[in-house]
Symmetry: C2
């Protein structure tokens, strides 16, 4: 039914076709369209399916390698999940996701979908339309944070699942490994389990059990388990991937964002304190800009919704054109390197190798 | 049996006597003794009980307002809890904690204890010797993080309890309020519940139930509940206190430490990249130093172990003399403003006002 693992994972997809929810996010088409145009100019083998209200898409009507698909509704940033799911059935978000849905009759039209729409709605609609991969109880949100090695650390889950079992954490580890192997070309990335100490006896019962499952999966060659890591290891780059439940992951992400914002404000305040410090700022500007570029969160935009039967990437709602383009890049890389097949194959191998109970999870 | 609440909370303790585990931490007496000396010179009404190996305490034998107490053992930074608890019964840590233990026969000799020893051992020994306050199931670790308002946010629990019930979170809120009222003089500090969104429907079942308990406690005037907060609110200063379970709190703390370290390293790297950037660094030094001072974590050293029948403060193990002195200052402020009585009174009021089940908690 499916090609052997080695064949599929080595082949590249070309041309890559992405569907884009052009109406999503705080700014809608005013940032998504310029980002799409910049993306197309840098990826001669890419095609885009632009989804939105007809008048919003008008500027793109003569672009090459573009298909315009109309939608009559828009999911707003504060629409409840129920509205997105049950009321707005012709929303740009939903129509864009539908482009990556494969049926028994025909393959998906696009290889991955990108939206800056609200996370809850996007996850709910994507899950409803696409369903989860066999062996996955719950999809997870994976994103990257910069680290001291001048690379980045992939963290999941970042908020899709507030209560996780040990089995869910194992599934996140397997899916995260597929993501990093696809996007970064590391075939055997290391996985750390987020905990409050390095020792195996640390943490809650769920975390301790997850540690056991991850060690077993490691011994069977399914993942490359590093062991327990702590919050600071995300930025040290101790492991390529950090696995945690969605509550903890979301708190870690928001805490980091909050601290980064405070630091940026403090630096700005110090350099604009008076005429003397402003002159110092002029001199220091090139150095400060170089620093700013290194920690610019816009470079890391584009979270993957993993575990669905279709690739969906989520951009920050407040993304600017540069930032939205990075989300398009991440979706492109993932689609081009067959992330969907990789997740499928890795999860299937895990199901084959680990006891059914462990791999399928329970709703404890 | 006890004085009315208003009388006690207004009275100040003087002189304040602190017991100090001089052997704890990575550096022991080489940093604790200079810190104690500096502290004494700035607090003419304070007395210290210095606990340690006799030879280590020798330099302090002629100091004024000091009592030397010998101990024959030292709990090392990597001693397991069991060793600290059952083997080293004459450790400086244990003897120092014993100074704040009151018995039926006599009051405690010291008002608060400070140690830079390992957290697990300190919590276990303190809990064993002092016992918890009536109505408290589990002690919590509370510390402060700087915020954008140029103040700081008190966060608890930071790692003592990995699995918490809603009732535990309520207890943390009540104890945190007592701490902030004692140390910062805010009689009615705001409490935020750490969550992954502001809406009351967000979070796990435990968090949602904690939200209900906190709203009830607020309506009865027991605490000043702000509502849900997110990780970034810690640094915004949205609420005076942020309450969370120890797993989440520890991850947030370590994540913040990791990001701060990365930022500091990046700034250093940028300013030492070449001869030109080094010259820029010379010019920018005063501004950078001012920034550094504002975010200097050493200023925020000194975590309170709350919920015990005695005040114990924990310094970072790696603290230098300046940093250890801050921990002494925090313990002094807490003792002087009768933190122990405040916790006792607030918890008693909560027990009186809320249903027993809610206030006493369960080991779910």
């Amino acid at each position: 039914m499916t090609a052997p693992r080695s064949d599929r994972s080595q082949a590249l997809v070309a041309p890559v076709r992405l569907s884009v929810d052009c109406m999503g996010g705080d700014h809608g088409p005013s940032i998504t369209l310029p980002a799409c145009r910049a993306f197309l100019s840098k990826h001669p083998d890419a095609e885009l399916v632009l989804v939105g209200l007809p008048e919003a898409l008008a500027p793109a009507k003569d672009w090459a390698r573009v298909t315009l698909v109309n939608a009559s509704e828009v999911v707003s940033m504060d629409d409840p999940v129920e509205v997105a799911l049950r009321k707005k059935k012709d929303s740009s978000m939903r129509v864009a996701i539908n482009q990556v849905k494969a049926t028994a009759e025909q393959p998906a039209f696009a290889h991955a979908c990108v939206s800056a729409g609200n996370t809850g709605a996007l996850m709910a609609v994507a899950r409803y339309l696409l369903k989860t991969v066999e062996g996955i109880d719950r999809p997870a949100i994976a994103s990257v944070m910069p680290n001291q090695l001048d690379g980045y650390t992939t963290v999941l889950d970042l908020g899709a699942n507030v209560d996780c079992t040990a089995e869910h954490l194992l599934q996140f580890a397997v899916m995260g490994s597929a993501l990093v192997s696809a996007v970064d070309g590391k075939e055997n990335p290391t996985v750390g389990l987020l905990n409050i100490g390095e020792e195996v006896i640390k943490g809650s019962e769920v975390i301790k059990k997850a540690g056991e499952l991850l060690r077993t999966a490691n011994s069977r060659g399914l993942i490359n388990f590093y062991g327990n890591v702590e919050g600071n290891d995300i930025f040290k780059g101790t492991s390529d991937i950090v696995v945690c439940d969605g509550f903890v992951g979301n708190v870690a992400l928001k805490t980091a964002e909050g601290l980064a914002t405070m630091f940026a404000n403090f630096i700005k305040q110090e350099f604009t304190r008076n005429i003397a410090t402003k002159m110092v700022a002029l001199v220091a500007m090139p150095v400060l800009n170089h620093f700013k570029k290194r920690v610019d969160h816009r470079r890391y935009n584009g979270a993957a919704l993993l575990g669905l039967r279709g690739l969906v990437f989520k951009s920050h709602g407040s993304a600017d054109a540069f930032s939205f383009e990075q989300a398009l890049n991440r979706a492109y890389d993932a689609a081009r390197h067959r992330l969907l097949d990789r997740v499928h194959d890795r999860i299937a191998a895990t199901l084959d190798s680990l006891p059914a109970q462990a791999a399928q999870g329970s709703e404890a």
